[in-house]
Amino acid sequence: MFKKTMTAALLSLTLGLPAAYAAEMGAKDETIKLTINEWTGQHISAHIAGETLKKAGYKVEYVTAGYDSQFTAIADGELHGTMEVWSSNAPDLWKKMSEAGKVVDIGDTGLKAREGIVYPIHVKEICPGLPAWEALKECAGKFATAETLPQGRLIDYPADWGTPGADRMKGLKLPFKAVPAGSEGALISEMKASIAKKSPLLIVFWQPHWALSKYKTEWVDLPKAEDACFSDPKWGVNPDDVNDCDFAPARVFKVVWSGFEKKWPAAHVILKNVSIPTEDQQNMMAEIDQDGGKLEKVIETWMASNEAKWKPWIEASK
C-alpha cells in the first residue's frame, strides 16, 4: 500500500501536480466514465465536471448513454457518473438502483430548474388575459384543433415522462385536452411551428432549456405550489381535486456509482462540489445550439475564464 502511494506521489511529482492530492487520488490511472445524455445542457454539465477532473489529474472519458438506460451501466460500475438527474422526470431505473444501493445521489447540480406551462410571446395577442391562468378559461376555444374540439389543446410531456399537463388541467378544471408529445423533438417542433405560423400554442416545458433562450416565451402564472396542493383536495381554487397549482420546483442532482468514493476519493469530493450556474449553462447552450459552436471549444473557453469557479472544487478535495 505504502509502495503504491509512493509511486503515485512520484508520478504526480513528475507531472508537476501538487503531491498533496496523491494520497486521496485513488485509481487515477483508470478512466472515469461520465455519461452524455440526450440534451445539450447535460453535455455542458458533464464536460465541466469532466474537465475539472482532468485538471485534477484524472483520466476522463465521455460516453453517450440514454437517460434511462444509463442507470444499468452506472449500477454495474461500467459507467461512473451522470451529472443531471431531474427529480421531476427521474427514471424508474434510478429509483430501483438507488434503493438497491448501487448508485448514489451526491447532491445538487446547482441549476435552478423550473417546469411549467409556457407559451410563445405572440400567443398573448390571441389570448390577451395571459399570463394569468384564469384567462385560459375564456380562451380555450382559440387553442382548439381538430383532435381536441371543442376543448383547447395543451401539449403535454411525452407519456413516459408522466402527465403533469393533464393533471393540471383536471385540477384547475380548465377546458383543455392534454396531448402527449411523444418525444422532445416533437415538443420543439410544435414550438417552432407555432412561432413560424403565429398559431396558438400552450405547452408544458422546462428550464434551463436552449429553446427558452432562443425563442421569446412566457410562463403561465399558476397558483404557487405547496405540498398540500398535491395531497389535499381542499387546498386551492378547486376544493374537489388535487393538482390545482403550479409545478413543484424540480431538483437537478448528480449521481455516481456506489463504488466511486472508494475508487477515486478525491474525484468524489470534486464531483460533489461541482455546481453549475444556471445562467452560464443557458448561455453556453445558446452558443452551441443557436450559433453552432462546438461543445469542446465552448467548454474550453468557459474553463479558461472561470477558474475562480472550478478551482475551489479541486481545493476542497485536498
Partner: protein, 696 residues
C-alpha cells in the same frame, strides 16, 4: 401455410355451412348491440379478468437475470472485443485509403459503373463531417453481419434438415422480425451490459431471419439428383452438406446475405437509442431531439449512402456467376498489386499525418441551416392550408375509422348531427345494399358489405371484442383452414387476456388506416411505373432511400406541418410502408406473360379491358404479397410513430421501457407481433387460394 388449405373451401366456392357461421356472427353482433347495457362484458372485456402475465414475466426475468448474468456478460465482453478492434482500425486508417479500398471492392464485385457510385457516396460521408460516426456504425455493422450470417446459416441448416426445425422455426423467425426491439431492450441491457453490444445483439436478432429463410429455401431446392450423386460417391453427411448442397444452394444463400446486410443496417438507429457509441444513429437522434431537420437529414443521408454501398456491392457479388471470373474486371493479380499499393499509401499518409477526418464541414452546415430556415418559412406561409388538409383527413377518414360513424358525425366535424332517423336510414341502406350485392355477386360479397358497414358504424375501437374475435377467427378458418383459425383465436385471445385489447385496437386502427392509404398510393404508382420505364427508373432510387433512411428524419417536418397527433403518425407510417406496395405491384404487372396479352389483343380487348380483366387479376397474387408486406412494415413503424404522440401499443412499449418494466414491454411487444402475424396468416392463406385458383 399453403399445405392446409387444400381440403378447405376457397372463398369462391359455395359451402352452405359457412353461411351458418356468418349468420351466427351477425346474430352475436345483434345481441351485443341490443344487450350492450345489460351484459357489458360482451362488449368491453372486464378489467378484473386480466391475466397478470406481465407481473409473472417480471418475476421470471428477475430470477433468470440473476442466474444467467455471468454467462451473458462474458458473451457480451467477448463480442465487444472484435467490435472495438474493428472500430479502432477503421478510425485509424486515413479516409482516402478507405474510400479507395471501397472503390477497389466495387471494381472487383462488378465494374467501373459501381466504382463511380461508391466513390461518390463515400466521398460525401468523408466530406460531410460524419466520418468518425460513420466508421463507428460500420464497426457495429461489421460485427453484426457476420454474426447474423453464421447464426442464420446454422439455423437455416437446422430448419431445412430436421422435422422439428421445419415445425418450430417459421413462427420463431416471425417473432424475431415482428417483436419491436424496444420491447426487450431492458432485459438485454441487464444481461449483456451497457453499450453497443446490446445494439449488436439486437441487430443480429433482427437481421438473421432472412438468412435462415434463404438458406433453408436454398437447401430444400437442391435437386435430388445432386444429393444422390453425392451419396453414391460415398460422401459423409457432413461432406454432403458442406461440399455439395451448400455450394449448390449458393445462389439463394447470397440473396439471404444481401437481405441480412440491409436488415442489420436498418437496426443501427435503434441500437443508438441505448447509446455508448458515438455512431451515426446517435447523431440523427440527437439532431431530431433538437428538431433540427436539416442536420438530421444530412446525417440520415450518410446512412442511406452506407446502405447503397453495401447493398450494391453485396448484390453484385450475389449476382456474379461463381465460376467465371469477373467479366470486364482486371485479373486477381492486379487486385493484389492494388491492395499492396493501398497499404503503402496508408503508411505514407499516416506518416505525414494526412487524411484525418474532417470534424465539421462548413458547406454541410450551411445547407443544413438553409434547410432549417426554408422549413420554417414554408410552415409560416402555408400553415393554414396544411391545417385544413389535416382536418379534412382527420374528420372524414381517421375519426370514422377509429370511433365509427356513430361517434364521429358531430356538428363541429361534419357540420351536422347524426340523428336517430339518419341512423335508422343508414342501417336500412346497409341491409338493402348487402342484400343487393349478395344477389348480384354472391352471398360472400354481400356479407362482406354487411360486416364493413357494421365496423364503419362502430369503428375499430368501438366494436365489441367478442364480435371482432369471432369475425377474424372465422375468416381465418374460412381462408386458411383450422390451423389458421386456431392461430387467430389464440393470438387475439392472448391480447384480450393480458389486457392489451384497447391499446391493440388503437394500433390496428392506425395501422389499418395507414396500410389502406399506403397500398392505394403505392399500387397506383406501381401501375404507372409498370407501364413507363422512365417513371420506373425515377421511382426506384426513391424507394431505396425511403427504405434505408432513418425515418426519425421525416418526423420533424411532418410534425411542423401537421402538429402532434394521429395524422402525423399516419403520414410517418405511410412514408415507410408504401414502398413494398410499389415494388410488388410493378413486379407483378411486368411479369404477366406476353403471350397472354397477345391473345387478349387478338380477341379484340380494349386497353382498359386488358388492364382490368387480364393484367390486374394475373398480378393480384404478387400485389397481395405487396399488401402483406405493407401491413408488416406499418406495424414495424408503429413504435417509431409513438414518438409523435400516438396512444396504441407503441406508446405502451415506450412507457414500459422508461419504467424498466420488462414484463409490460414483452407483453406489449408480443401483442404487436401477434397482430402482425394474424394479418400475415390471413393474407397469405388468401393469396395462396388465389394462386390455386389461377392454376386451375
Amino acid at each position: 401455410m399453403a399445405s392446409d388449405i387444400t381440403n378447405q373451401s376457397g372463398l369462391d366456392v359455395k359451402f352452405p355451412e359457412s353461411v351458418w357461421g356468418w349468420l351466427l356472427i351477425i346474430l352475436l353482433a345483434l345481441i351485443c348491440g341490443v344487450f350492450a347495457s345489460s351484459v357489458p362484458w360482451l362488449v368491453k372485456y372486464p378489467q378484473n379478468w386480466f391475466v397478470p402475465l406481465a407481473d409473472w414475466i417480471n418475476i421470471f426475468t428477475d430470477w433468470f437475470e440473476a442466474i444467467a448474468k455471468p454467462v451473458t456478460r462474458f458473451i457480451g465482453n467477448l463480442l465487444e472485443l472484435p467490435m472495438q478492434g474493428l472500430r479502432e482500425v477503421l478510425q485509424w486508417v486515413p479516409w482516402p485509403v478507405t474510400v479507395l479500398a471501397v472503390a477497389l471492392l466495387a471494381l472487383h464485385a462488378s465494374g467501373w459503373g459501381l466504382v463511380v457510385i461508391c466513390v461518390l457516396a463515400s466521398l460525401y460521408i468523408a466530406l460531410s463531417g460524419y466520418w468518425e460516426q460513420a466508421m463507428n456504425t460500420m464497426a457495429l455493422v461489421g460485427v453484426a453481419v457476420p454474426l447474423s450470417l453464421l447464426l442464420g446459416l446454422g439455423l437455416g441448416i437446422y430448419a431445412s434438415r430436421t422435422r422439428s426445425g421445419q415445425r418450430i422455426m417459421p413462427p420463431i423467425l416471425d417473432l424475431m422480425q415482428t417483436i419491436p426491439t424496444f420491447a426487450y431492450l431492458i432485459p438485454m441491457l441487464v444481461l449483456f451490459g451497457f453499450g453497443p453490444v446490446v445494439g449488436l445483439i439486437a441487430s443480429a436478432i433482427y437481421a438473421c431471419p432472412p438468412m435462415v429463410r434463404n438458406v433453408s429455401l436454398g437447401l430444400q431446392s437442391v435437386p435430388e439428383e445432386i444429393r444422390e450423386a453425392a451419396r453414391m460417391s460415398g460422401s459423409s453427411s457432413y461432406q454432403q452438406l458442406f461440399w455439395v448442397e451448400i455450394p449448390a444452394a449458393m445462389g439463394q444463400i447470397k440473396v439471404g446475405i444481401n437481405q441480412t446486410i440491409m436488415a442489420a443496417l436498418s437496426m443501427v438507429i435503434i441500437a443508438s437509442v441505448i447509446g455508448g457509441f458515438n455512431d451515426i444513429g446517435w447523431e440523427v437522434l440527437s439532431t431530431m431531439r433538437k428538431a433540427r431537420f436539416g442536420d438530421s437529414l444530412l446525417a440520415g443521408v450518410v446512412i442511406v449512402f452506407i446502405a447503397i454501398i453495401m447493398d450494391r456491392i453485396s448484390a453484385a457479388y450475389a449476382n456474379r456467376d461463381y465460376l467465371s471470373s469477373g467479366s470486364d474486371a482486371p485479373s486477381k493479380h492486379h487486385f493484389l498489386i492494388a491492395a499492396g499499393a493501398l497499404i503503402v499509401l496508408c503508411a505514407v499518409l499516416k506518416f505525414f499525418d494526412i487524411g484525418t477526418a474532417i470534424e465539421e464541414a462548413d458547406w454541410a452546415k450551411s445547407i443544413a441551416d438553409w434547410l432549417n430556415l426554408k422549413l420554417d418559412e414554408f410552415v409560416g406561409a402555408y400553415g393554414d392550408i396544411l391545417t385544413s388538409i389535416k382536418n379534412f383527413f382527420y374528420f372524414f377518414y381517421l375519426l370514422p375509422l377509429r370511433t365509427g360513424l356513430s361517434q364521429s358525425i358531430l356538428p363541429f366535424t361534419w357540420g351536422f348531427d347524426f340523428t336517430g332517423p339518419m341512423r335508422i336510414s343508414y342501417a336500412v341502406m346497409c341491409v338493402l345494399g348487402a342484400i343487393g350485392v349478395g344477389m348480384r355477386w354472391g352471398w360472400q360479397k354481400g356479407l362482406g358489405v354487411a360486416i364493413l358497414a357494421y365496423l364503419l358504424y362502430f369503428g375499430t375501437t368501438g366494436a365489441p371484442w367478442s364480435v371482432v374475435i369471432a369475425t377474424l377467427t372465422y375468416l381465418g378458418w374460412q381462408v386458411g383452414g383450422r390451423k389458421t383459425g386456431l392461430f387467430v383465436l389464440g393470438a387475439l385471445g392472448f391480447i384480450l387476456l393480458t389486457g392489451m385489447w384497447e391499446r391493440a385496437m388503437l394500433s390496428v386502427y392506425l395501422c389499418g388506416a395507414a396500410a389502406i392509404m399506403s397500398f392505394l398510393f403505392g399500387a397506383s404508382v406501381g401501375v404507372w411505373a409498370a407501364s413507363n420505364d422512365t417513371v420506373s427508373a425515377i421511382v426506384r432510387p426513391i424507394c431505396d432511400t425511403f427504405q434505408t433512411i432513418p425515418l426519425f428524419v421525416f418526423l420533424i417536418p411532418t410534425l411542423m406541418f401537421f402538429q402532434l397527433g394521429e395524422f402525423t403518425a399516419l403520414l410517418a407510417i405511410i412514408a415507410y410502408a408504401f414502398v413494398p406496395a410499389i415494388r410488388y405491384t410493378e413486379n407483378g404487372l411486368r411479369e404477366v406473360s406476353p403471350q397472354l396479352l397477345e391473345v387478349a389483343v387478338e380477341q379484340g380487348c380494349t386497353p382498359s379491358q386488358i388492364f382490368w380483366q387480364v393484367k390486374l387479376p394475373l398480378a393480384m397474387p404478387s400485389m397481395m404479397v405487396g399488401l402483406n408486406q405493407t401491413i408488416m412494415y406499418a406495424f414495424a413503424m408503429l413504435v417509431i410513430a409513438a414518438l409523435v404522440g400516438t396512444t396504441g401499443l407503441g406508446q405502451q412499449i415506450y412507457q414500459a421501457l422508461t419504467a424498466a418494466n420488462t414484463g409490460l414491454g414483452v407483453v406489449s411487444g408480443l401483442s404487436m407481433a401477434l397482430l402482425a402475424m394474424t394479418a400475415d396468416r390471413i393474407m397469405q392463406a388468401w393469396a395462396a387460394n388465389r394462386y390455386a385458383g389461377l392454376d386451375g
